[in-house]
């Protein structure tokens, strides 16, 4: 290999590396679309009637459930969202006066969704209305989003042989949110557990509720900061870890864990060619890889 080739390789790689544009200067951060909607879930109000599950089932045209939605025996087991149920309600017995607490589970529509950042075909979009929606037309079914979601939300239609896709709550984007209407579960809830509005306003509302009635709520809004902030935020009267919330998640979005490696990639692409070309030159004492020089046979380790 000639010295000229080595220098050429270095220049090209250096140019390639410098093509990367820097999006984030120090001190700049994106706080999310300012008008994004959200839902404040007040778990002190939920009575476990499962109307939200029923409304979601109808709105999203999901298949019939195993048991009717007014059947409360489902609470004997903890459920999770599946390909047939984008939202479920679970019941928790707590020490607080023996009154059960109910918790609605669905996609939290995070500000920096892990599903979106892990998708190699860009199937997820965080709309400016706040919904995290999914495009089934490009999905290859790698299911990395199911691994990445810290709340383990996305379901997958394994039962479909020829068009299995991810199934999750889409904030009723296609049928309602786009048109300025609240999602089906919010509209039907008799106890108004779900308050719909702009997320920034809802966070204020949530803190105000905590302030107005001391002792009624735990002084924390789950989802305000967790995983970089979520669109669906929760108030509870009992500690969150007692009702199935993961309180070990931290306030950084998932992408923060991955950024270190991602940043390293273009450096390898830029540096390795020159590094190994250089090592090659060094190990050959600068001679070209000349075919006429016979190579050593066997032996010396």
């Amino acid at each position: 290999m000639k010295r000229r080739d080595f220098l050429k390789a270095c220049t090209i790689c250096g140019a390639a590396a410098s093509l990367g544009f820097s999006r984030q200067a120090w001190g700049v951060s994106f706080e999310g679309y300012p008008d994004r909607m959200g839902v404040l879930v007040d778990l002190t109000r939920c009575i476990g009637c499962r109307s939200c599950e029923a409304a979601c089932n109808k709105e999203q045209q999901l298949s019939a459930p195993a048991l009717p939605f007014d059947d409360l025996s489902v609470f004997e087991n903890k459920r999770r969202p599946t390909e047939w149920a984008y939202t479920v309600v679970n019941r928790y017995e707590t020490k607080k006066e023996g009154v059960p607490v109910y918790r609605k589970v669905q996609c939290n529509h995070c500000n920096e969704p892990a599903c979106l950042t892990s998708c190699l075909v860009n199937a997820y979009t965080k709309t400016k209305e706040g919904a995290v929606i999914y495009n089934p037309k490009v999905c290859i079914g790698c299911r990395a989003c199911m691994v990445a979601c810290p709340f383990s939300i996305p379901g997958y239609s394994y039962s479909s042989a020829f068009n299995p896709v991810v199934k999750k709550c889409i904030f009723c984007y296609d049928t309602r949110l786009k048109y300025g209407k609240p999602p089906a579960c919010v509209e039907i809830c008799p106890q108004e557990v779900l308050t719909f509005g702009r997320l920034n306003d809802l966070i204020k509302v949530g803190h105000e509720r905590i302030r107005q009635i001391p002792g009624k709520y735990i002084d924390h809004i789950y989802g305000e900061k967790e995983m970089g902030g979520t669109g669906w935020i929760y108030l509870s009267g009992v500690p969150f870890d007692q009702i199935g919330f993961d309180t070990t998640l931290g306030n950084e979005p998932i992408i923060s864990n991955v950024k270190e490696f991602l940043a390293f990639i273009p450096m390898v692409l830029a540096i390795w060619p020159a590094l190994f070309s250089g090592l090659h030159l060094l190990s050959n004492n600068g001679k070209d890889h000349d075919n006429s020089i016979p190579h050593q046979e066997g032996a010396e380790p």
Binding site: R45, I47, C49, R50, S51, A54, A55, N57, K58, S63, A64, P65, A66, L67, P68, F69, D70, D71, W84, G180, K181, P182, V186, E187, C189, P190, Q191, E192, T195, F196, G197, R198, D201, V205, E208, R209, Q212
Partner: protein, 167 residues
């Protein structure tokens, strides 16, 4: 005689005063109210108002201060200490039937004078207030105890005759 006439007038006046309650609500208090503004999955509620008036004795339990009763809550008294009766007393008069429509949300947001930004909607107000009290006093709390389900409701819940082929 004058004394007999005075006695007669006094007696009539007394009886009139007794049978006429002094707070003047009587002309306006309905005995029963049809709660029908949210009818979709359940039948309308034929609400026995008179019974609940007798049970609660204090209108503020449901109507806040709007009927002119004295404010007792420490939170409300900050502003409503001297608030008297309101022109609007009914639940649906203040609690929006569709609290999360774009119009309601925007109006709520944009009006700088609104204090009660977190005002619950009508359905929420009914259930939190009515059912909340029923839970406390051991009254019926099941959905169909207050309003029976319509066909549309059965279909919604995949229940009764409308159960689809279950998975």
């Amino acid at each position: 005689m004058n004394t007999d006439r005075n006695l007669l007038f006094g007696g009539i006046l007394m009886i009139a005063l007794i049978i006429t309650p002094i707070d003047g609500r009587s002309q306006d208090i309905p005995d029963s109210i049809n709660l029908d503004s949210l009818v979709q999955y359940y039948e309308m509620v034929n609400f026995d108002h008179a019974k609940h008036v007798g049970l609660s004795k204090d209108c503020a339990v449901c109507h806040h201060h709007t009927t002119g009763t004295a404010v007792e809550s420490a939170i409300c008294i900050r502003c409503h200490k001297n608030s008297g009766a309101n022109a609007v007393v009914s639940c649906r008069g203040c609690h929006a039937a569709r609290p999360f429509s774009a119009e309601t949300i925007n109006a709520n947001r944009q009006n700088p004078l609104t204090y009660h930004k977190d005002k619950v909607g009508l359905r929420g107000a009914y259930h939190q207030s009515c059912r909340g009290c029923h839970v406390q006093y051991g009254a019926p709390t099941g959905c169909q105890d207050c309003h029976s389900r319509k066909k549309e409701g059965d279909a919604l819940y995949d229940a009764a005759k409308y159960v689809r082929k279950l998975r």
